[in-house]
Amino acid sequence: MSETDRAAFERFVAEHGDRLLHAAYGLCGDWQHAEDLVQRVLVTIARRWPTVQTNAVGYAYRCLVRANIDRWRVLRRRPEVLLDPHELLAHGPSVDPAATEDHLVVLAALRTLPRRQRAIVVLRYLHDLSEADTAAALGITVGAVKSGAARALARLRSAPSSPLAEVPRER
């Protein structure tokens, strides 16, 4: 790998790193896990840079989704962990003291979604991926993205105690 490749990779990270971090946070709900996910994904991208650089952003989203799924599966497989340092504080998102209550309940509602629906909402509506790119990132069909998105939004609004149903329409 040449210094030119390295420089191109570093430019990619400088331009898109924050966006990937925020997407990871949307997917897993914890900043520390999000940082770990992104770092893992960046190593994967670096290793495959020559083949993925023409669509590195799309590839990065796919890797993020997969890494989050892998992490979730590992968590499910561990019925009892005597000492798991990186889970000790993973009881929920870091709370920004300046966040309004409305913002917090909206974020909490997002976290009630099933994992795939949550990923669809994060990628499609919070990161403006197209239906096709969202489908590619998740390894599903465009039709599944559409139906998943519709179900996610409906679920956010229609649950009996849905916080979004209580968010005032006008401030």
């Binding site: 790998m1 040449s2 390295r6 990779f9 570093e10 990619f12 990270v13 400088a14 790193g17 924050d18 990937l20 971090l21 925020h22 946070y25 949307g26 900043w31 520390q32 940082e35 770990d36 992104v38 770092q39 960046l42 190593v43 994967t44 991208i45 670096a46 290793r47 590992v74 497989r77 561990r78 009892e80 962990v81 005597l82 000492l83 798991d84 340092p85 990186h86 000790l88 504080l89 998102p93 870091s94 920004d96 966040a99 309004t100 409305d102 913002h103 917090l104 909206v106 974020l107 997002l110 909402v121 509506y125 919070l126 939004l153 956010l156 609004r157 979004l164 149903a165 968010v167 329409r169």
Partner: protein, 200 residues
């Protein structure tokens, strides 16, 4: 509330939650060095060959090629950008007490001589939230006694010393500045060294 209003509310909440969070500036370099440590040395080897082929064989030229060859075969000084990188390789068997099998790949840093492991419980930061702490579990292969940590911030001469009177084990280790801290560790007549990265 219709779909558009729901999406708007989600965007506003997410923008508020993420606006002050940025990727670590060293993330790209760390990722690249982790991905390509051998390639970095190979690319320098190709440069050696190119220089050897193009430089006339004079006494000075031969000495220069010999110098390049020596550098090619030597590991990068200080381990390069990966000196403070965590690994998800399985913990050594002597460091697994207390961990279930599913947690054997807990991120950690192994000492250069393989005598001690540092397992951060949390992303280490200079400024942690009030309810968090820079908890690090130190596990030594052998030997127990007070653990002396002499830490030097990479690229500087700034050094701090920490002593854990109870020796290798759970501890809180704070550093005064962000960056890669190279740590020389001494306990019970033993010595090793490793690096831990502290974020802002």
């Amino acid at each position: 509330m219709n779909d558009e209003q729901t999406i708007t509310a989600l965007r506003q909440a997410t923008e508020h939650a993420t606006r002050d969070h940025h990727l670590d500036p060293g993330a790209a370099a760390t990722a690249w060095d982790t991905a390509w440590p051998a390639a970095h040395r190979r690319s320098r080897g190709r440069l050696v060959a190119a220089v050897a082929a193009s430089v006339a064989v004079t006494a000075g030229g031969a000495a220069a090629v010999a110098t390049w060859a020596h550098h090619r075969d030597s590991p990068p000084a200080g381990g390069g950008g990966s000196a403070c990188s965590l690994t998800s390789d399985p913990l050594p068997t002597w460091a697994r007490t207390g961990f279930s099998p599913g947690a054997y790949r807990t991120p950690h840093v192994m000492g250069k001589d393989g005598r001690i492991v540092a397992i951060p419980f949390i992303r280490l930061r200079v400024h942690q939230p009030p309810d968090a702490g820079n908890k690090v579990l130190w596990v030594s292969k052998a030997g127990y006694g007070p653990l002396r940590i002499e830490a030097t911030l990479e690229g500087t001469s700034r050094t701090v010393v920490r002593t854990l009177p109870d020796g290798p084990g759970p501890s809180y280790v704070d550093m005064p500045a962000p960056g890669c801290w190279r740590m020389d560790l001494s306990w019970a007549g033993r010595h090793d060294s490793l690096g831990l990265r502290y974020y802002p």
